[in-house]
Amino acid sequence: MMTLKVDVIVQGYLRELYPHLREKEEVISETPLTVRQIISQLGIKSETVLFVTQEGRIIDKDYLVESNTELVLVSPPAGG
């Protein structure tokens, strides 16, 4: 079975909300995961994520992620 390995960048207000997380987290799974499932594996409630990008493009939270990629979680402007 193929192992899924994804880097997740957690930044901005999200790190205030989830102080236990580092700026770069790694998610490893033996089963395929969607963006939303990856977020939730990190203990993040997916609604607190404004949007997610991969290689600079916004991707759907229900997208099935391929291995060896980097996801960036963008946080809401938090009252700019």
Binding site: I9, Q11, S75, P76
Partner: protein, 621 residues
């Protein structure tokens, strides 16, 4: 010498013409840092109880921070403060752009205006040469038009703030305008400028700011930019700016719709960040020193007319788009443009107009009083009301005071849905499923403003249901009201961290958006000022300022106390009408429980008044 600071506070009596440039007191810089700290301390010390906000004895304080104008990300911020005509208490508003840095290069940390000019005038500050120029030809000119005229007259290198007709007519939510699209919108500072007959302030600063360790500060500043460039969010967040949040706010059921009857708009995709980029955008427009410009400058075409306009940013989308139900982004942008020219705060203006629309729907006001029938979703009606308000004509004269006095005048139960706290209209987050955010609005010193503490994300993170799963599941799926437990500490902590940026004279978005670390500010602060201060020590100063602005409200508002800290009854009694939070509201008992805890943790009595022990503990007097 105070390093990092310009070194002088310029006080101008615009009536007598008397000007004094005093040295910035080192103890003021030490104890209050700058920006919001200077505004709060100077206003508290200088305004007597019983002062008329629109009388000559009121002050307008314009303050930069120690980091304003230096080489570091987001150093373009300026803070404005006054005894607010909207609330009768502490008022301030923060603005980006280039004005604050120019003020510092001219030699001033802070500008204090008092008195009232006899005729409409412009203050021209050309380094140490200061003139108050009478110019009645600018009377009634749009805020952007006036700025253009003054730029052409004085030169490109002047940075200018202006007021529109709404400010001249002392509308309680008139805003200050700068750089063709930046505003100090909230609490009616522009109405106070209008009461002083000041149409504009123009500044040219050609000098420099003393830096403790210029080489070190340069190296650190350069490194700070490079940290920003390397953040993964640098390229992904910037293209959409604050409008990027629109659909998210709607998804979590916090998007004000139909004067906050609902918190969900079906048409959100037509007025979100993508719509701004697809239908309006000409260029990104940055503030001084900004690596991640949220300003989106565009061109809107509508049936009513076409306009160049900066924005709309999220708050304008929420109040003009959501609350007034303008369903096309071009219409929201055009209404934004009309507000900008008239010099009206888009947040309050959107809420006031949507309030009038609901009053009309409910029969509280009629066509004879309004001059026509009005309805949600009509750009024509929105513009009609905005123009009436700015001119203080007919129904506009009543609405010009804001929803609090207007609802008192209209009666008919309209207080229930006059959406404000302390007399300041609510900004763009509906909170009937977000108790932390609700408490943030309730306890913000200026009234119902979001940027003192933005706890919405925290509320969502604490709720026990996955909203999108519920939406997908169809009718019946509802997000549970997240519990108020633990919210108070989070709100208090944010009320210190968010306003600290306004105190230092910098933008918070690099931290909030792309994760720029606060430790960099500690380091650059020391290199610029020569003073070693940890972020925690700066937060302690911010906490003291929070106590001081509360004391300002106690000093100036008759009978001030707990009753001033409640949201409108709609939020405590009426269920949300649609969307993921349909049926939700937060009972007064829950809010009371949170307020009790909040007051206790603040060292305030059960009426919300700082106790003598608290005042002493913070060294305030």
């Amino acid at each position: 010498m105070l390093h990092g600071y310009a070194g002088k506070i310029l006080k101008i009596n615009v009536g007598s013409g008397k000007q004094v440039a005093e040295n910035t007191p080192p103890e003021l810089a030490e104890q209050y840092l700058g920006g919001r700290g200077f505004v709060a301390r100077l206003l508290y010390d200088s305004i007597e109880p019983g002062t008329d906000p629109l009388g000559p004895a009121n002050l307008v304080v314009i303050a930069t921070g120690p980091l304003s104008g230096h080489l570091l990300p987001g150093s373009g911020k300026t803070h404005f403060g006054t005894l607010s005509p909207a609330t009768g208490g502490y008022g301030d508003s923060n603005m980006g752009g280039h004005f604050g840095p120019a003020l510092k290069y001219a030699g001033y940390d802070c500008l204090v205006l008092e008195g009232a000019a006899e005729k409409l005038s412009t203050i021209v500050i050309d380094n140490d040469k200061i003139e108050i120029v009478e110019d009645e030809t600018l009377q009634g000119k749009g805020a952007l038009v006036a700025e253009k005229i003054l730029k052409e007259r004085l030169g490109e290198d002047f940075q200018i703030i202006t007021i529109g007709p709404a400010g001249e007519n002392k509308v309680a939510f008139a805003c200050i305008s700068h750089d063709f699209g930046r505003q100090a919108g909230r609490t009616g500072v522009a109405a106070v400028l209008g009461s002083k007959n000041i149409k504009a302030v123009a500044v040219r600063g050609t000098g420099s700011i003393p830096v403790y360790n210029a080489k070190g500060a340069q190296q650190k500043g350069e490194a700070m930019y490079k940290v920003c460039f390397a953040k993964p969010g640098f390229k992904t967040w910037t293209p959409y700016g604050t409008a990027s949040i629109t659909s998210w706010v709607n998804e979590v059921g916090a998007f004000p719709t139909r004067n906050f009857q609902s918190s969900f708009a079906e048409f959100h995709n037509k007025i979100n960040g993508q719509a701004v980029v697809d239908k309006l955008l000409i260029t990104d427009k940055g503030c001084f020193g900004c690596p991640t410009p949220c300003g989106k400058y565009g061109y809107a075409k509508t049936a009513l007319g076409n306009a160049y306009v900066e924005g709309p940013e999220y708050e304008s989308i929420a109040t003009l788009g959501g609350s007034c139900c303008l369903e096309e982004i071009e219409e929201v942008a055009y209404a934004n443009y009309v507000c900008d020219q008239l010099g009206l705060d888009t947040i309050s203006a959107g809420v006031v107009v949507s309030f009038a629309m609901e009053c009309f729907e409910k029969g509280v006001i009629n066509t004879a009083e309004i001059g026509r029938s009005i309805s949600f979703g009509s750009l024509d009606d929105v513009v009609y009301l905005l123009e009436k308000i700015a001119a203080c004509e007919g129904i506009g004269a009543v609405l010009a005071g804001g929803v609090k006095p207007a609802s008192a005048a209209f009666g008919g139960g309209s207080e229930q849905y006059a959406i404000h706290v302390k007399g300041l209209e609510w900004s763009g987050y509906e909170c009937r499923n977000a108790p932390g955010m609700m408490l943030s609005y309730m306890t913000a010193d200026v009234g119902a403003h979001h940027n003192r503490s933005w706890a919405l994300g925290y509320d969502i993170s604490q709720s026990d249901a996955d909203v999108s799963e519920l939406i997908k599941a169809g009718a019946g799926g509802k997000m549970d009201v997240s519990s108020p437990e633990g919210k108070v500490d989070h709100v208090i902590s944010m009320q210190h961290s968010r306003p600290l940026y306004d105190t230092l004279g910098i933008c918070r978005l690099q931290t909030m958006e792309i994760g720029f670390e606060t430790v960099h500010y500690e380091e650059v602060f020391e290199l610029i000022t020569g003073r070693k201060l940890s972020w925690a020590e700066m937060l302690a100063i911010s906490e003291k300022i929070w106590q001081l602005t509360r004391l300002f409200n106690v000093k100036h508002i008759d009978g001030f106390g707990r009753s001033w800290d409640y949201p409108p009854r709609r939020f405590m009694e009426e269920p949300v009408t649609s969307g993921p939070n349909e049926g939700r509201y937060i009972k007064k008992e829950i809010l009371d429980k949170m307020l009790d805890e909040y007051y206790e943790k603040r060292g305030w009595d059960s009426n919300g008044i700082p106790t003598p022990e608290t005042i002493k503990a913070y060294g305030l007097k």
